[in-house]
Amino acid sequence: MSATVSPVPAAARLRRRTAGSWLRGITIGVVTLVFALPLVWMFAAAFKTNVQVTDPSVGLWFSPTLENFRNIVEAGQILRSMGNSLLVGVVSTVLSAVIAVPAAWAVGRFGMHRTGSLILVARIVPAISLLVPWYYLFAQMGLVGSYTVLILSQMFVSVPLIMWIMISFFAGLPVELEEAARTDGLSAFGAFRRIALPLAAPGTATASLLAFVFSWNNFMFALIFADDRTQTVPVTLFNFISYASTDWGGLMAAATLITVPVVLAAVLGQKYLVAGLTSGATKG
């Protein structure tokens, strides 16, 4: 089963306001602030002048400036990198889903545990031990720096991730619907395409969204395989640290640009992302 958090039936308990529940509310509030404030600080710093960024007594009240964003956009690389990240993320996710969703259906329907454990292996193995041989071969073929290699290497992560999530998702769908469709004369593939696939749309969306986010964030693969033309946002951000370590404002603006899409995804798709991140964990 994919794990969705359902409200405990006794919603009436919410009303009971004891000292304990106040304490609980305050604790949850404080914890939430601990997780939120560092990011808020980063967003705020992106709108500060460089003098303000390095003065910790300037808190969250200041007159914001867009200068940092103007500077990094004018420098050129960041928008190009965002385009590259978008391209690599979308293509690798779509290709991975096309391969992984049907396979996950097959595994989920027939309980093929050996294939399932192959995916676990893919999750355990350190990515560099895949990258070293591939780098070795791609370098000999002169392919390092191409989008093809970036997309293929991202699929190391995306294919196992999507399969991992979708196997448990398909296993949670009632097989009877597909059997009924078969009885009504649908071909086996038809049952998959017309019954299972539409029902699995939320799962596919979740898995694809996560795969895209992990691609967007991936640093190591791009560090190895990208060149100046194809570099993605994390690498651009990393290069900012080395070359412009004093330009905190620009650094924070770049970090903000890369984080905003992720925050948007989190706010809009919270329920699905939580289900995807925790899927497969409650089976033991």
Binding site: I99, A122, S129, V132, R182
Partner: protein, 319 residues
């Protein structure tokens, strides 16, 4: 998980001659057997070609003296690279120790804090949706951006962290600027980023638990701690074990944030160089492909060892 294994085909239902109807009523599983393979093949090919093959190649490379240009020749040197790695007390063993310290420290803290937070958030409350949204943001944020953000906060001279410490009368800290404090600081950053993952995993596990045993214990007069210790915790065992394995595997492989904050080699004195960072440096900075492959083989065995250990432990506890 559905365990409808492919049952042995009913004897030749479709192979009989005669005017068979176009579509014979066969069972769902039989009809789908060919389709199953058609659907699995692309993924299996991909996993085989892109993941299994490189692993085999890594093992092969670890037995060679591959070095320098990628199309330079290489000769087999037996287990020499493994001997070199295991005899290296300057880089390899310290890196192995740091990998273990980082993982054990961070994952223990994340488990304890994550479990506490999950218990706290177990009963629904107003604003739960927003709290969960805030919790998933650190997990999904680019690790390089997180590294940069903490570099600013923890900057020894201009950071807000030292400003706050001074405010409550504590001495200034060097954090990532010092050799001694770098690894502990990065562990705490890891705890900040990944405790929410533990919380969400355990929260998902908690919602699947039946309520009756706890109610029964409550009726019998067990207090909150006793119910947690003797009812909830044992029932949560399998989820806890899985969450530990997932988090430990990822923590062992931590790379981005270490590399982004401390650079190549894990700093001037290799102070945050873990096995992953070490293997990366060997390959891409020193072109020591053979030695790097040997380190990776050892590292992979190390990870598998941890997984097996945790699984066995988890299994025994819940048995």
């Amino acid at each position: 998980m559905s365990t409808t294994e492919v049952s042995p085909a009913r004897p030749a239902a479709a192979s009989g001659g005669g005017p068979a109807p176009a579509r014979r009523p066969r069972t769902f599983e039989q009809a789908n057997r060919r389709l199953k393979w058609a659907m699995l093949t692309p993924a299996l090919l991909f996993v085989g070609l892109m993941i299994v093959f490189p692993l085999v190649y890594t093992v092969d490379l670890s037995l060679t003296d591959a070095f320098g240009a990628v199309n330079a020749g290489k000769g087999y040197v037996g287990l020499q690279n493994f001997a070199d790695a295991l005899g290296d007390t300057r880089r390899f063993w310290p890196a192995a120790r740091r990998t273990l310290v980082f993982t054990v420290g961070a994952v223990i803290l994340e488990t304890v804090l994550g479990l506490a937070l999950a218990m706290l958030m177990r009963k629904p409350f107003r604003g739960m949706r927003w709290v969960r949204t805030v919790l998933i943001i650190p997990l999904l944020t680019t690790p390089v951006a997180i590294g940069i953000l903490w570099l600013l906060i923890l900057d020894p001279t201009n950071g807000i962290a030292n400003h706050l410490l001074a405010g409550i009368g504590l001495p200034r800290q060097e954090f990532l600027g010092s050799v001694g404090q770098s690894l502990p600081t990065l562990m705490l950053i890891d705890v900040w980023q990944w405790t929410p993952m533990m919380t969400l995993l355990l929260l998902a596990g908690l919602t699947t638990l039946p309520e009756e045993p706890e109610e029964a214990a409550r009726v019998d007069g067990a207090n909150g701690w006793q119910r947690f210790r003797h009812i909830v915790l044992p029932m949560l065992g399998p989820t806890l074990a899985t969450a530990l394995v997932l988090r430990a595997v990822d923590a062992l492989k931590t790379f981005d944030i270490l590399y982004a904050t401390k650079g190549a080699g894990g700093g001037s004195d290799f102070e945050v160089e873990t096995l992953n960072v070490y293997a990366y440096g060997l390959t891409f900075d020193y072109q020591e492909y053979g030695l790097a492959a040997a380190v990776l083989v050892l590292f992979t065995l190390f990870i598998i060892g941890v997984v097996v250990l945790l699984r066995r432990r988890g299994g025994r506890k819940t048995a």
